[in-house]
Symmetry: C2
């Protein structure tokens, strides 16, 4: 128990797999924070409020109502409460749509930020818009492309604070499915990594994306017939998938000003793939962007600061 | 129990998921047959012989030794006994490599047929070579392409009884993974089918295979934003996958003489995809080809008939 005397509001990043909360004072300084694996995919609809009540009991004493601003998949139809998608083009520096959630616990003054949608071609994002908002709150004049690698990688065109257009590629999910469930699972079962093999597979698939499915099976045959190292096969599997994505996303990166917004090794992998094509990309930290995006949204909604 | 007086040999198609056996007389006429789901993936290495002993007890009385010829994944490294791959080019009308399996049950005189491999680009098949042999045993002058759709679809160039070259595409497995495990699983959860949507997705992906991963996510967005019917989304998912395969397999089908060797609806789906590109393909029945391939291999190995 550490009751926070100067607690002003709580920022919440509530995704599919994880929950992250920051307790903030008036100056948006972090008084306390934590993260857990209480992602929305593992929660029934009636489990969100009790979980939040329980979590904030360490921070809040008595009956004080605390503004809590959430972003991410918590606002999906299968989440706590659906927060509608706003349509692009959308100015993230001036607008911040959200829905208020009615709670029985009087201490909870909860809002969930909505995602963004594009009508043609049909596309959606939920959570990434907050990260982009966070990046733009620090670089408001940015004009270019933000790449957000992940399960569903987003390539987003941004100008003058606005999201103009975007495309989602199911590359991360495909890599996970192939390496966990496919006939390749034993062949790529390695923690090793080989950037040279990765980059050469990226280049092959940028040039010949139509060969993807035979490239996949060739990894299996290379294992059976040539005993190629598993770390090499894993790097090539990733390279073929990211190369195929880059072939499809070419209008988004060729000759563009590019920022990669991601955590962890994935950012390095995309940076290497782009550099192999002679394209420089700047990396920025996703967690910081999420935090900055929530504070910016808070100021837009509550009109403070 | 129906002991078969005129039993001469037993033909066995032992794949990953299924087992099919034919009891044959001297003229290769079927005296009895059955199939079960005792595929090799579900069997430990020491389970193959007891299963076979049990299965033939209905057909064989006493201690008579019966030739049993098997094809398929039973000959994989993870199967009963590894039957080595022969290297293409390989003449299926003149050669039939196999390994003998030592059994403790004296009634079992077992041989497993080997698969085929290609060194460059690395590729393998196991089971399909027997189906191709069966087709060629009826059409020995065939010169063209045999397409064998399935989990791992094969495109095989055949001339004068020889397999010249082939490529494997992991399309069927990808469709299964995407429709069972991916974020699309609810969006494509339908038994319906729409050939028009399928064919238009095939054409889109033949022209733009690099868009595959964004085409995948667009199905999700079409579901969320436009409530597109699940049967349409399922047909498009299949169309994008088969279209991407056809883009990569173009050298195998453009201006070629094509046979589709498959069972079930899959054959129709590939035929429709090719016809949408103005290419005619002849369908032949896979089970009959497997049977004919086993009998042809039997005659090559045992020199009878």
């Amino acid at each position: 128990m550490k009751i926070l005397k100067h607690l002003c509001w709580i920022a919440v990043d509530w995704g599919s797999s994880n929950l992250r909360m920051w307790a903030l004072n008036k100056k948006n300084e972090t008084l306390d924070s934590f993260s857990s694996n209480d992602g929305m995919l593992g929660l029934e609809n009636d489990a969100f409020e009790p979980l939040l009540s329980h979590k904030i009991s360490n921070w809040v004493s008595g009956d004080i109502s605390i503004p809590i601003l959430c972003c991410g998949m918590v606002g999906a139809k299968q989440g706590w409460m659906e927060a509608p998608y706003a349509t692009v083009p959308y100015n993230l520096m001036q607008e911040s749509d959200s829905v208020k959630v009615a709670c029985t616990d009087n201490r909870l003054d909860v809002r969930i930020l909505g995602g963004l949608k594009q009508n043609n071609p049909a596309d959606v994002m939920r959570g990434e818009e907050t990260q982009i908002r966070g990046f733009l709150s620090n670089f408001s004049n940015f004009d270019g492309i933000i790449c957000l690698p992940g399960t569903h990688t987003k390539w987003v065109q941004v100008s003058a604070g606005e999201v103009i257009s975007f495309r989602t590629f199911m590359s991360g999910e495909l890599f996970a499915l192939m390496s966990k469930y496919s006939v390749l699972k034993h062949s790529v079962n390695s923690d090793g990594w080989n950037y040279q093999e990765f980059n050469s597979a990226v280049s092959e698939s940028i040039s010949n994306p139509q060969k993807l499915f035979s490239d996949f099976f060739k990894l299996r045959a290379d294992d059976l017939l040539k005993k190629v190292e598993k770390s090499v096969l894993r790097s090539k599997l990733s390279g073929h998938i990211i190369g195929t994505e880059l072939a499809g996303a070419k209008p988004y990166w060729l000759g563009q000003n590019i920022v990669i917004l991601a955590n962890s090794d994935l950012s390095k992998v995309y940076k290497a793939a782009l550099e192999g094509q002679g394209v420089f990309a700047q990396e920025v930290d996703a967690t910081k962007c999420t935090f900055d995006g929530l504070t910016k949204a808070f100021s837009l909604i509550y009109g403070r600061y």
